[in-house]
Amino acid sequence: VLTHITYGHFLVLAAVLFAIGAIGVMVRRNALIVMMAIELMLNAANMTVLVFARMHGDMGGHSFAFVVIAVAAAEAAVGLAIVVAVYRARGHADIDRLGALKH
């Protein structure tokens, strides 16, 4: 297992990365850290796509990962704009205290 790297190793690595990102999203309170954890999860998904592209010898996975990277950039831009707007309005970016839509 240690010296014989297979596709499974890469896939499990992507799963670990996704899990760490999910932990970050659930456990942290700062909106910026949560967004960074979301970026980690997107990267894990990208890694999985690339492993399968490599496995099948199909370049379509690379195109898919390319599109995912572009959409992640758009998501980061809009999300950070929302964080900035919330911070201006509230003075903090603590997602546990942003429950105004709950009531």
């Binding site: 456990v27 099948h56 370049m59 831009a77 903090h92």
Partner: protein, 323 residues
Amino acid sequence: MMARIDQVLARAGQVLARAGKARLAPAWVLTLAISLLLVAVGSWAPGNLAHAQVAPGDQGDHAGHDHPEQAGDAPAAPEGQAGAAAPEGHGAATPEGQAGAAAPGARIDATLTDSSPGAALFFWLFALMVVGGSVFVITRRNLISAVMGMVGTFFAIAAVFTMLYAHFLSAIQVLVYAGAIMVLFVFVIMIMNKPEDHPWGRVGTFGNIAAVALVLYLLVRMGTVLWNVPVEPRMVRPPSRVAITSGIECPPPEQPVPLELERHCPDFGTTKAIGDSLFHEYLFPFEAVSLVLLIAVIGALAVARPHEKSPAAPTASTPSPNA
């Protein structure tokens, strides 16, 4: 007030450090635990990818046999064999015995490059960097150090992409993520220049532990499923014209590939191949992404624009101009 998880992890670190006489930071304890879990999942999951079977005589591997005309077209029998053997896990004793009796060297290795110790060493190095960097990111209180850890993690992910023969996407990863998106994060952190006093969620110790346990369960299930992905021999193609270990003499990239070598020397992962794929097969998604980026720029400007009452904020338009 440090978090409860942090305290628990620090206590675990002290317990661990009693043997090693060294104080372990909580992040490193978590990194170590997750890495060990990675190894454990890898070693215990049955029917892993390295044992996909191939019939004797079929040259599905790229490990240096000299019949390139046979290399890609696996016959139907070993395909069915491998497809049937992989989901059964370790119960696949009979095909292993058959293959071992017929030809000892006939099992293919579904490895990415080869099974050399160097590739394994670099894989584990980059995997440790990815896991450690991401754990570093989600455990920091200082946002700037979290961003710096994120940049390191993205470099390691780019290295992993390179190991997957995705050279172009590796460069894009460094340019877009480590270059553009992280700069955006730094901008926003500089705007909201305020330390957080309660970094962890207020769901309590039980909630945090339950969240971590559920995610670890998710990780184990996901890792097991992904590890057990059946690999048929015909899926294992020679990687690219950067074919270091394929054993097939591919022409250099500036020369055209002869027709009989075309399926063995694909331009996998190169910019040319990505361009072919993007502009022929996936032209509409490509154009749609450009529209999405335009909408995102306009939306980010509209959302982050300061209102009339707030004082003039010169940093209002920072989240827009990326990508």
